[in-house]
Symmetry: C2
Subunit: 234 residues, 2 copies
């Protein structure tokens, strides 16, 4: 089988750079981890915070530290560094080849959306707190076997709240389910959801928006790993 | 304009996992860096080495350390850790938005290939040593303005030596030039070069092969960052 991950990301309109940070790292025991962080506020200040949190989580994961401990470490680091005054949401999505599982670690009030192989949608909304503010914050963790047909969608609140000022937000579980049923790839899903959100914001998003989609597909027979990155430069 | 980066990577036949490591990180002052490491030998031992070197370089770059210093740090770390007995090649490719330049740092006897906007091919073969063995190893650095039409191809020796056992290797500068002239995207280039190499190895590569292609394109008008990853799972 094959795992396909797609990320689409846009910054708040006219804010210069996105305050969200997305990083990926190979897991030393096999597989990969993606870290998505939304720093409090937007622009440069948010970017510095999300960078700090993502860097800490990535450094831990790269050394083989388990996901829950990496999330705790990222919290402790931000909490100590900023005295509990600055928050960030943190999601870690791991394809762990040592255990054959998909692991989602959340410090994010925004739920994640999981579509199972039979098309059933599950909203992963175990309560969790952002990192940085409260003592001893820990992540909500969901772990499930890597199986063809799984789709996981993780996003920052810019996606959930797009269109809120005109009273029309996306029904994300329904949107995701429809697109998966229509056979959309991870890339099409990430692009499609971001496009819808941008349309609701008239192309001028009032917040950073990031969407991460992971799909497990039945593809067999090749061993080529691929990565493609597009980075617009103003 | 837009930067598109594509990586295609395959492990030595039947060796389990690739001994090459490719990692990407956002630069704190804007842009991104890609680190490609080929650890001595293949399989698990090589993977551990390439992981160590890549992790060190990435950690430095994530903290805003300049590329040449990050490469030196990675060398010093491996040299201290393994007593100068183990080597690795290291390339760092950076899109540095703070300076508006493309920076290539090489500790790799394999040259890189650059195609300019006018179609001229340049082989970047300043002499450099792998990291880990010799005292005070430093990288060869090439830096040039980010301009539409540039294509940079960086690879591990598995690509250069593919087909050597049957006396037929790729003429990489010519291959790259032709494909760029034919309008191939970064993704098509990376896939196409890897495919040619795999054909020369009858689909059973005797070494890990990694190809990284970076293109600067004139595309304007959108602000969406995208990443796509495909990870085959056996």
């Amino acid at each position: 089988m094959e795992v396909e991950v797609a990320v689409a990301k846009v910054g708040k309109w006219a804010a210069g750079e996105s305050g969200d940070t997305l990083e990926m790292i190979e897991r030393p025991r096999g597989g990969l981890s993606l870290v998505l962080v939304d720093g409090q506020r937007s622009g440069r200040a948010a970017k510095a915070i999300s960078n700090l949190v993502a860097r800490k989580a990535i450094a831990e994961l790269a050394e083989g530290v388990r996901d829950g401990a990496a999330a705790r470490a990222a919290h402790d680091y931000l909490h100590a560094y900023k005295g509990g005054k600055v928050s960030a949401t943190l999601n870690i999505v791991s394809v762990d080849l040592a255990t054959g599982t998909l692991v989602l670690s959340s410090n994010n009030p925004c739920p994640a959306i999981l579509v199972h192989a039979d098309g059933a949608v599950q909203v992963l909304d175990q309560p969790s707190q952002p990192v940085g503010i409260y003592q001893r914050t820990k992540p909500a963790i969901a772990e499930l076997p890597l199986q063809p047909g799984l789709t996981l969608v993780v996003y920052t609140d810019g996606l959930a709240f797009a269109g809120e000022n005109r009273g029309e937000t996306l029904d994300l579980p329904a949107e995701v389910q429809q697109r998966v049923a229509a056979g959309h790839s991870a890339g099409q899903l990430a692009d499609g959801l971001l496009e819808r959100a941008l349309a609701l914001e008239s192309g001028r998003p009032r917040d950073d928006i990031s969407v991460l989609v992971l799909q497990v597909r039945p593809e067999e027979g090749h061993q080529v790993r691929r990565m493609l990155v597009q980075l617009p430069i103003s």
